[in-house]
C-alpha cells in the first residue's frame, strides 16, 4: 500500500517538475510547481513527517506560490515574453550537465544496499509537539536567527519593490 502511494506521489512530483521546466507559459509552470510541491508534501507524509508536510502545503503551496502568481500577474507578460525554450548551445550543455548529474546520483544511490525504513518509531515522531520541542529547545538560537532572517528579507523586499525616489 505504502509502496503504491510512494510510486504515485513520486511519479506525480517528478512529472510535474518536468512540466515546470518545459511549459512555455510561466503561469502553467507555476501551476505545475504547485503540483510538484504537493507531491513532495505527500512524500513527507509518507516519511512520517506530518508537521513538515503541513508546513510544506502551507508555506510553499500556499504563501510562496501566491507570491509567484502575484508577480506573474503583475508583470503581465505579453505574448512575446512567453519565452520559448530555445535549445541553444548553452541549453544543450545545461541539459547534458543535468542529465549527467541525474545519472551519476541515481546510479550511485540505486546501487546502495539501503536499509529498510522499518525502524520502530515512537508515537510522537514527526508531530508538531516533538518538532516544536526541538525548535524551542536545542535549536532555539538558530530558530531565533531565522526570524531575523525573515525580518531582513521583509525589509529587503520592501526596499526592492518600492518606487525609486527621484
Amino acid at each position: 500500500m505504502q509502496l503504491a502511494f510512494f510510486y504515485f506521489f513520486s511519479g506525480l512530483s517528478i512529472l510535474s517538475a518536468l512540466f515546470v521546466i518545459f511549459f512555455r507559459n510561466t503561469l502553467s509552470a507555476a501551476i505545475a510547481l504547485v503540483v510538484t510541491l504537493f507531491g513532495v508534501a505527500c512524500l513527507f507524509g509518507l516519511l512520517e513527517a506530518h508537521f513538515l508536510a503541513a508546513m510544506q502545503v502551507l508555506v510553499y503551496a500556499g504563501a510562496v506560490m501566491v507570491l509567484f502568481l502575484f508577480v506573474i500577474m503583475l508583470m503581465n507578460l505579453g505574448r512575446e515574453e512567453l519565452l520559448k525554450i530555445k535549445l541553444a548551445f548553452l541549453g544543450i550543455i545545461g541539459v547534458i550537465t543535468g542529465v549527467c548529474l541525474a545519472i551519476l546520483l541515481v546510479t550511485r544511490f540505486m546501487g546502495l544496499s539501503a536499509p529498510l525504513l522499518s525502524l520502530d518509531l515512537g508515537v510522537e515522531y514527526g508531530t508538531v509537539k516533538s518538532v516544536g520541542k526541538l525548535l524551542f529547545g536545542e535549536y532555539l538560537i538558530p530558530f531565533e536567527l531565522t526570524s531575523i532572517l525573515l525580518l531582513v528579507a521583509i525589509i529587503g523586499a520592501i526596499t526592492l519593490a518600492r518606487k525609486p525616489q527621484s
Binding site: V40, A102, F109, L117, G126, Y139
Partner: protein
Amino acid sequence: MILLSHYIVVSAILFSIGVIGVLCRRNALVIFMSVEIMLNAANLAFIAFAREHGGMEGQTIAFFVMALAAAEVAVGLGIIMAVFKKQGTIDLAKINFLKG
C-alpha cells in the same frame, strides 16, 4: 518495501530536473521555480535520512530550509520585479549587467 534509496533517488531526480531548469530556461521566474524544486529535493533527502535514522534533527533542518526558501522567494521576486521595471524583460539572455 520502500527503501531509503527510493526516496534518495527521487530526491536526486528532482534535484537534477531543477538543475536542468536553472541551466536551460531563460525566464527568470521559471529559473526561480527550478531553484524551489532543488530546495525541495534537498528537503526530501533530509527528511528521508531523518526517518531512516529515527531522529528529528533532519526535520528541523528541513524546517529551517523552508524558512530560508520563504525569505529567498520574497527577496528574489523583489529583485526580479526591480529588474523587470528597469529592463522591461526577464529574459536572462537580454540582461547583462554583469558584463565586464
